[in-house]
Amino acid sequence: MSRTALLILADGRFPAGGHAHSGGMEAAVASGGVHDTASLEAFCRGRLHTAGLTAAGLAAAAATGYDALALDDAADTRTPAPALRRVARRLGRQMMRAARATWPCAGLDHLARHRPQGPHQPVVLGVAARAAGLTALDAAHAAVYESVGGPATAAVRLLSLDPFEATAVLARLADDLDAVAAAASDAAGRVAVEGVTVLPAASAPLLDITGEQHAAWAVRLFAS
């Protein structure tokens, strides 16, 4: 593996559209659920162990070379909220564009051709990781980091939170991130034999509900 490739893929500056999405943080801030560093940490921990774990499992499985189209269907199954499905596919298209320019490969071309409206973002992430020579565990790390890094950045913008404190929250979650990535990668290691049902399917019902509501807001800063 190339450690540098992982840094490029996981960098918040990777031009795949993530900056316009808050991962549910905008709705959480509006409801008062997140209002300070402690509540930011609680939100991130919750998202990591639900949406983050599920995304990491899909990304890791895609990075093993497992059938990406089957994984895309599995991602639909694991994403009950229509608004969040649309977001995942739109971000998947955007990541596809960035990944094909960065690490051109037949796997990405194949996935793009069969999902012209955009595959789920974690699946693209996993295929891109494979194209970059990364492992399933690497892909899982990128997915879990993104699952909390995006909302933390959004919280800084939405609450004018101290950016040092927000970054310290991510650092305090590092062991959790490692553990969730390892669990996702372990599951992905069994997918070739046992099929997609072995992949994590942890859901966050409140994120699903508020995601659906947020999509209908007339005025918002973030696309999701």
Binding site: R13, P15, A16, G17, G18, H19, A20, H21, S22, R90, R93, Q94, M95, R97, A98, A154, R157, L158, W217, A218, V219, R220, L221, F222, A223
Partner: protein
């Protein structure tokens, strides 16, 4: 009305965005409109649409700070049919969406091209930002920077990438100059100094056909791109 250079030379710019589709056909010309909040970007885009829509197939992409305000304005003003106006959300960072991570804007541009083919011109409007906001060459072929007289006559002197490097600088709201004590000649001299041989125009959109200098520049850009195919 000052038009600094009667002819601009858009062909001197390098295209990092491929000007052709994979099948070899020309894609629409993409022009970005940036500038500070309230300088008249949306009004300029709206006036351009009204002036050019009868002879060109046009679409607009807006980048809003809050949801879809500019797109909603353009739809309300009915400058184009609603399916020709797309809005990109920018997560509170309009400059990121037009420069550092252009993926959402490219999505919007390509979807408009697919749905409305053939398009001649796509106008991409930035959310109101600061003097450093510029468009990626991977997104647009040319960029216009719109400032206004009422924000102060020292803006051209302050410079910044938008003022100094945009392919066209528009100094808007000249009709307000007498009311805000602005010396237009000094603004013109500062603009010339900052921009060397790059063009700039003064506009007042309250005047009849006030957007004409910008419309002429856009028409020149299109003509330079398709030699002999001017409509």
């Amino acid at each position: 009305m000052h038009l600094d250079h009667p002819v601009t030379l858009p062909q001197r710019h390098t295209y990092s965005a491929d000007p052709r589709h994979p099948d070899g056909s020309h894609r629409a010309l993409r022009i970005g409109f940036g500038g500070p909040v309230g300088s008249g970007k949306t009004a300029t885009v709206a006036a351009l649409c009204r002036t050019l829509r009868d002879r060109l197939s046009i679409a607009v992409v807006t980048n809003d700070i809050y949801t879809q305000e500019d797109a909603a304005f353009l739809r309300r003003e009915a400058v184009l049919p609603p399916e020709r106006i797309a809005a990109v959300e920018t997560g509170a960072c309009p400059h990121t969406a037009i420069r550092d991570d252009i993926s959402a804007n490219l999505e919007a541009v390509e979807q408009l091209e697919q749905a409305l083919e053939p398009l001649d011109l796509i106008l991409i409007e930035s959310g109101g930002d600061n003097l450093t906001a510029t468009f990626s060459r991977g997104l647009v072929d040319h960029q216009v920077f719109v400032i206004d007289v009422a924000a102060g006559d020292d803006i051209p002197r302050k410079g910044g990438p938008g003022i100094t490097t945009a392919d066209l600088l528009v100094v808007n709201k000249t009709d307000l100059a007498p009311y805000v004590g602005v010396d237009l000649d000094a603004m013109a001299a500062d603009s010339r100094r900052q921009r060397k041989d790059l063009p700039f125009v003064f506009t007042s959109l309250t005047a009849a056909d006030g957007v004409r200098p910008v419309a002429d520049w856009v028409t020149e850009c299109l003509a330079a791109r398709h030699p002999g195919a001017t409509r």
